[in-house]
Amino acid sequence: MKLESVLAAKGPQVFTTPASASIGTAIAALARNNIGALIVVDEAGIPFGILSERDIIRHFAAADDPEKATVGDWMASPVMVASPADDAEAVLRTMTSRRFRHMPVVESGRLVGMVTIGDLVKAQLNEYRGAVETLETQLMDA
C-alpha cells in the first residue's frame, strides 16, 4: 500500500504554521484542531520544520521564558518528508526506528498531506483484517 491511499480519506487539510508564530498560538492551533503537530512552512509554503507536542513539552521544561518563544525556536528542523508513492510499510518502519510520530508528505516540493504513525498502523491493520475477512467468507461459504 502506498501513502496516497492512507492520505485519500484524511481530507485535504494540513495544518501549518510560520516559524514566526508564538508558541501560544501554536498550542491553541493544536488544541483547536485536535492534532499532535504543526508543519512549519516558509512563505512559499515549503515545509522546513515540524513542531510536535513532544517538542513543546521538552522545550517548555527547559525554557526560562516560554511565553517569549516562537515556533522557530522550538521546532525540529530540518524535517524528514515522504512522497505519496512511498510504500506505507517502509515509512512506518522508518518512523518507528527514528521515533517520529508525524511525517509530512510532499510532492514536487509542495506539501500534500501528513501521515501519523496511528494512520499507518490503522491502514496496515485494516489490510490484514481485509485479507482475513476475505478468506473467512470463502471458507464459510465453500
Binding site: 491511499s5 485519500a8 524528514m80 517502509a90 518502519r93 522508518t94 476475505t134 467468507t137 461459504d141 465453500a142
Partner: protein, 479 residues
C-alpha cells in the same frame, strides 16, 4: 432518531453502488442503525456486486462465493435494490435530498490511471481496466476490440490485476471452459495468436505488488512457461536489508519463489510468460501505421529515498521489446459524480474518514458519506472494504443520533421505484437479479460451466421479460 415525512420513525439511507463496500455498509447499517432503518441500494448496472462480478478473474470462481453473504444482506426486509439506475443520470442529488436522511457513495474506481509517457494512446495500447471489464462481461465494454492476432503482448505493472490479465491471456481452451466468461469472449480468446506475454515490473522482486498465491498460479499454467531472468530475480543490497528489517515471511517467501522459478528450465509449453523486474516503459513506439509496435524500456536500479522507501531510478540504459498489444495495468482511478465534491489529486470523493467534505469549507457536507475505493483509492482486497465501510457507518450513526441528517420531504418507500419508472428508467429489483442469476447459471450448466454471463443490458432485460415463457426463451435471450 430521525422522523420520516409520513410521521413514522427510522432512518432512510440511499447507497449508490452495489459493490463490496456498499454491501458491507448496508449490513452494518441494518444491524447497528436505529429501529426502522431502511436501505435502498442503487447501481448503474442491472447486476449487483461491482468488481466481484466484473473484476475478480473468471477462473477464480471460489472468490466470487463472497456474493452469497451479500445476498443474505439483501434478504433483510429493510433492504431494497434498484439496478440499472445511474446516479447523475436517472437519480440526482436533489432526488436524494428530497427522500433520504443520508446517502452513501460507494461507486468504486471506474477508470484507469495514466502512465504519462509518449505513445500511451497509440492503437493497440489499452488500459487493463477495459480488458478486464471485457473478459468479465461488463456491458459497457463488449464493443472493445483487442488485436489478439498479435504474437507478443506487454503488460505494464506487476500488481494482482496485471497478473490476472497475463494469466487470462495464457489460459488454455480447456481452462477457459471452466469459467463464466461470455461465449463470445471465450471464442475470441481461444482464437488468440498470442505466444509471448511480458509482465513489466519497475521495481524488484521484493517490491512486487502481486501476492504469493497469484504468483504460484502463474508457475503452474497448463499452456505457458513462466520465465524469469536470474539476474533480475537476484536481490540488490537495499532490498536485502529491507527484507531483513521487515521480518515479513510472506515477502521473503515471494522472493524465494521468484528465485526458484528463475532457476527452473522451461518445459517448452505453447506460450511463454516473461516476468521482468527493474524496467520502466518510457515510450510506446509507433509501428509506422499509428499502432504500437514496440516498447522502449529504461533499466532501473533501486534507491532509498528520505523516508526509507525504495523507488526505481533509471540507470540510463535502455532496451526495446517488440509488442503489438499493450495492457497498462498501473492502477484504477475514481471518477467524479455529479454535485459530489471530488479530490482530483487522489481521485476520490473529498472526505475525512468517510464523511464527504464541502469543497469550499472542508467541513462535513450534511448527510453525505462515502466508502470503498471511491473513499480511499483503488487498493485492497474485497474484505478490506469491511473495516472501511464500518468506519463510515459509525460516522453516519453518530451524526444521525445527533440529528445531523438531510431533511427529506417525502418517503422513498412511497415514491421509489415509481418515480424512476415515470422517468423511463427500467429498474431491476433484487428478485429480478435472482432471475438473471438463475438464467446465467442455467446457461452455464448447459455448457458444463459454473455460469455463462449475459453481457448486455438488453439481454438481461429480455431475460426478465421472458420470465414465465420457459427456459428456451431464456436461452435464446442469452444469444
Amino acid at each position: 432518531m430521525s422522523g420520516r415525512a409520513d410521521g413514522s420513525q427510522g432512518l432512510d439511507v440511499a447507497i449508490i453502488g452495489a459493490g463490496p463496500a456498499a454491501f458491507y455498509a448496508a449490513e452494518a447499517l441494518l444491524r447497528d442503525g436505529p429501529p426502522g432503518t431502511r436501505v435502498d441500494m442503487y447501481d448503474r448496472l442491472p447486476t449487483p456486486f461491482g468488481l466481484v462480478r466484473h473484476g475478480v478473474a473468471p477462473d477464480h470462481q471460489k472468490i466470487k462465493t463472497v456474493t452469497r453473504s451479500f445476498a443474505r444482506v439483501a434478504e433483510n426486509p429493510g433492504f431494497r435494490f434498484f439496478g440499472n439506475v445511474e446516479f447523475g443520470r436517472d437519480l440526482t442529488l436533489d432526488d436524494i435530498r428530497r427522500h433520504y436522511h443520508q446517502v452513501l457513495f460507494a461507486t468504486g474506481a471506474q477508470t484507469d490511471r495514466r502512465m504519462n509517457i509518449p505513445g500511451e494512446d497509440l492503437r493497440g495500447s489499452h488500459p487493463a481496466t477495459a480488458f478486464v471489464a471485457w473478459y468479465n462481461g461488463h456491458p459497457d465494454f463488449q464493443a472493445c476490440e483487442f488485436d489478439l492476432s498479435q504474437e507478443r503482448v506487454a503488460v505494464v505493472g506487476v500488481g494482482n490485476v496485471a497478473i490476472d490479465v497475463a494469466r487470462i491471456l495464457c489460459l488454455s481452451r480447456e481452462e477457459m471452459e471452466q469459467t463464466d466468461m461470455p461465449r463470445r469472449v471465450i471464442d475470441a480468446l481461444s482464437a488468440s495468436r498470442v505466444r509471448e506475454v511480458h509482465l513489466l515490473g519497475r521495481r524488484g522482486p521484493a517490491q512486487a505488488a502481486f501476492t504469493n498465491p497469484e504468483l504460484k498460479e502463474l508457475a503452474h499454467l497448463a499452456d505457458a512457461d513462466l520465465i524469469i531472468r536470474r539476474d533480475e530475480a537476484e536481490l540488490d543490497e537495499l532490498s536485502r536489508a529491507e527484507l531483513e528489517a521487515r521480518g515479513d515471511h510472506l515477502a521473503c517467501r515471494k522472493v524465494e519463489m521468484i528465485a526458484e522459478f528463475a532457476a527452473r528450465p522451461a518445459e517448452g509449453k505453447r506460450r511463454k510468460l516473461f516476468l521482468r523486474f527493474l524496467v520502466s516503459p518510457v515510450e510506446l513506439v509507433d509501428n509506422g501505421g499509428g499502432a504500437v509496435g514496440a516498447l522502449r524500456l529504461a533499466r532501473n536500479r533501486l534507491v532509498a529515498n528520505e523516508s526509507g522507501a525504495l523507488t526505481a531510478e533509471a540507470m540510463g540504459e535502455f532496451e526495446t521489446i517488440e509488442a503489438g498489444l499493450v495492457f497498462r495495468s498501473v492502477g484504477y482511478r475514481g471518477v467524479p459524480l455529479q454535485d459530489v465534491p471530488f479530490h482530483e489529486r487522489w481521485g476520490v470523493i473529498l472526505n475525512r474518514l468517510g464523511r464527504v467534505l464541502d469543497s469550499e469549507t472542508n467541513e462535513p457536507a450534511t448527510g453525505m458519506y462515502t466508502a470503498g475505493w471511491i473513499k480511499r483509492g483503488p487498493s485492497g482486497v474485497i474484505g478490506t472494504n469491511k473495516p472501511d465501510a464500518v468506519e463510515t457507518v459509525a460516522a453516519m450513526l453518530e451524526d444521525a443520533a445527533a440529528g445531523h441528517t438531510l431533511a427529506p420531504v417525502s418517503c422513498p418507500q412511497r415514491d421509489f421505484p415509481a418515480l424512476l419508472r415515470t422517468q423511463g428508467c427500467r429498474c431491476v429489483t433484487f428478485d429480478e437479479w435472482r432471475l438473471i442469476d438463475a438464467a446465467e447459471q442455467a446457461l452455464g450448466a448447459s455448457e458444463g460451466r459454473p455460469r455463462a454471463k449475459l453481457a448486455s443490458v438488453a439481454e438481461m432485460l429480455a431475460c426478465l421479460d421472458a420470465e414465465g415463457e420457459g427456459p428456451s426463451r431464456l436461452a435464446s435471450a442469452a444469444g
